[in-house]
Symmetry: C2
Subunit: 399 residues, 2 copies
């Protein structure tokens, strides 16, 4: 149980106000007061302190209501884009994408490195990541000292509180304190987070879940991941672990345990094509899914079969997740969506079949084919969220 003191109280209300300003664009104090249910007095005090800290800006035009309303016009407030800068990154087996964003989450620069880092030693990966961050920052016309925080999103099981990577398909080692390693390399606070969590928060901030406070996201990539938004916050599991959906068991087959990853993981689908030389080359370069897409459109029977099986497995899994969490919306993301209609149709069919009657209609399936930038932007949102929450410097007593 967390102990409550005036400081916590202020932090909660500050976050509430700041988040309202971020989400509702330019907004007046009165409207903030209505939305947050804080008195106008308190809103004035808090926005005053946010203005002092330079986190928000005033704008005197832009009251969109009917022209010609009487009375003193509302002063609109908005997040100050230049209050901070963060780096967000998506680190995958065959590519890395970096973005630099401002305090509002707008992308200032973007850098994609199509490098296979799969199973390289840690030091090599760390080198590449460090290099990518530095280059992306320079591209934005900034220096690393201008960057307040970095968030790296990567696949696997990650302990958020400590930044430990329990296991990840891109590392040979396990139990790595990657956050500490990168923090010292970059001399900037660095957060390590599951890529699925990153894009979950990304959708909450910028994407297809802006209107919701509860939601579930399923990421279908090399690894199958899960993100749960609960009460406008990421639900990070009991121990702060990220969820690794691929480890879920679908049943007992003749060869023993059948895990989801063996049916719907990227390698499970691509594996069917290993005999083809050109194809293997494409996979090695991280373009497997693009290639697959072409083959499927050319009616490759074996691949279509694999896609259908994968869709079925994922559809059943989603039904189970919905049974447990009953979210109003499920967002599906990831490279496997490129499998196209055979995959999506069998997924939808399996879901419809598997969803229990009592939950029929409570959850809406949404497919999202955002590019890797969006994942990186989500990681930036994770970094920004921690800045929004932190008390900042000038919160102290009035002068």
């Amino acid at each position: 149980m967390k102990t409550a003191d005036p400081e916590l109280m202020r932090a909660m209300n500050r976050l509430s106000v700041l988040d309202t300003i971020r989400r509702r664009g330019p907004i007046s104090r009165v409207e903030i007061s209505e939305r947050t249910e804080l008195s106008t007095t308190t809103v004035s005090a808090i926005t005053g302190s946010l203005l002092d800290d330079g986190l928000i800006l005033t704008r005197h035009e832009g009251d969109i209501r009917n022209e010609a309303v009487r009375g003193r016009p509302r002063v609109m407030l908005e997040v100050n884009p230049d209050a901070a800068r963060v780096v967000g990154a998506k680190i995958a087996a065959s590519r890395m994408v970096f973005v630099v964003t401002n305090f509002r989450g707008d992308v200032l620069s973007q850098l994609a490195l199509p490098i296979r880092i799969d199973r390289q030693p840690i030091a090599v990966i760390a080198d590449l990541v460090e290099d990518g961050v530095r280059r992306c920052v320079v591209d934005a016309g900034l220096s690393l000292e201008d960057v307040d925080s970095v968030c790296l999103g990567l696949p696997g099981v990650i302990e958020h509180r400590t930044g430990h990577i329990r296991s990840s398909p891109i590392f040979r080692e396990i139990n790595i304190d990657f956050a500490a390693e990168m923090s010292t390399r970059l001399s900037t606070p660095t957060i390590v987070e599951s890529d699925a969590h990153a894009i979950t928060l990304g959708h909450h901030w910028f994407g297809k879940a802006r209107d919701l406070e509860d939601m579930v996201l399923i990421s279908l990539e090399q690894t199958l991941g899960l993100g749960v938004l609960h009460g406008n916050r990421l639900f990070r599991g009991a121990g702060g672990l990220s969820h690794n959906l691929g480890d879920l068991v679908l049943g007992m087959g003749p060869q023993g345990i059948v895990r989801l990853s063996s049916q719907a993981g990227e390698s499970a689908i691509l594996g069917e094509q290993q005999t083809d030389g050109r194809f293997a080359e494409a996979v090695r370069l991280g373009r497997g899914m693009t290639h697959v897409q072409a083959l499927i459109q050319a009616d490759d029977d074996r691949l279509i079969g694999a896609a259908v099986r994968a869709g079925e497995a994922v559809g059943l899994t989603i039904a189970n997740i919905v049974t447990l969490f009953a979210p109003p919306r499920v967002i599906l993301v990831g490279s496997s969506l490129a499998l196209g209609e055979p995959f999506l149709n069998s997924l939808r069919d399996a879901y419809a079949l598997a969803i229990p009657p009592s939950l029929k209609g409570v959850s809406e399936l949404v497919f999202d084919d955002s590019t890797d930038d969006f994942w990186a932007q989500g990681a930036a949102a994770v970094a920004l969220y921690e800045l929004y929450e932190s008390p900042w410097s000038t919160t102290g007593p009035a002068l």
Copy 2:
């Protein structure tokens, strides 16, 4: 985002202190201060108000530390058992159990009604429940006016916030506002809660999870239920729904979807024996599991087979739940545990096989064969928790 004001702050700290007193038995103010990280000043103020409200009592003996410590002796504080009384109930298809407890959760009276209410019209069930509550209250030497709150735990999908029953195996109807119905009948605030949630909180208060703030419980009865404790609170799913594990899909069989309930539900196991007349009679009376136990000990092959299959299905499911929540402990409860070693062994084996290597050892399986009283006591804990949280009358300004 909840808006924070001094009142909320006080409520949080009050709950924190009161809960510490409940859990750590007679405890001194200094120790409360250490545990809650509140100053002794604040603890004194809060305990003072709790004493004024009559929720706690002082005890001047009982400082258990070494005899002959110097200094002013600590005054021990404990929950006042007589500050309130609540009724907790477990409503199942073939029986109802009621308990009356005091403010500490001690059972004052207990009443078991072995009646089959399965699929009766609502009015009949409501009559029986009302009757049970009233009789149990009288047995405790009390009148309904002495009772502050009632909590009914029953199987199915229940929306906690509203008290709506979305679906339950014991009702023919769906979408019933049972909480409102019983509140007016008893003219006492009545909460309707999933039985699995009730016993989950029961274990947190009195049972095998007193030492944990995160935990998962799986109930194996007519219905298969799930309770998740997260940060000392019940996790009630995104929409406040309870979880119905039986609806989980295990895979696709030749006849279509295979749900957990078809492998491990009470009726799935008992169903194997429908030809036996005496057995059918036992089932009708709600003693199926007891009977099954006897048959298994007599080496009934068909039943042992069913038990093994059920254990396997449950073991896989638990592995999946652990993959999602990574709790330090999983508690298994419910009548199906009576299936004995064949069931438990195959469950353990399947779990060991299905748990992903990266999560091996993070979760401990605990089997609990508590009787129905304990479920009812858990329901009482749900009712008590809401009383503990509520601000009470005298919280107001100091006089």
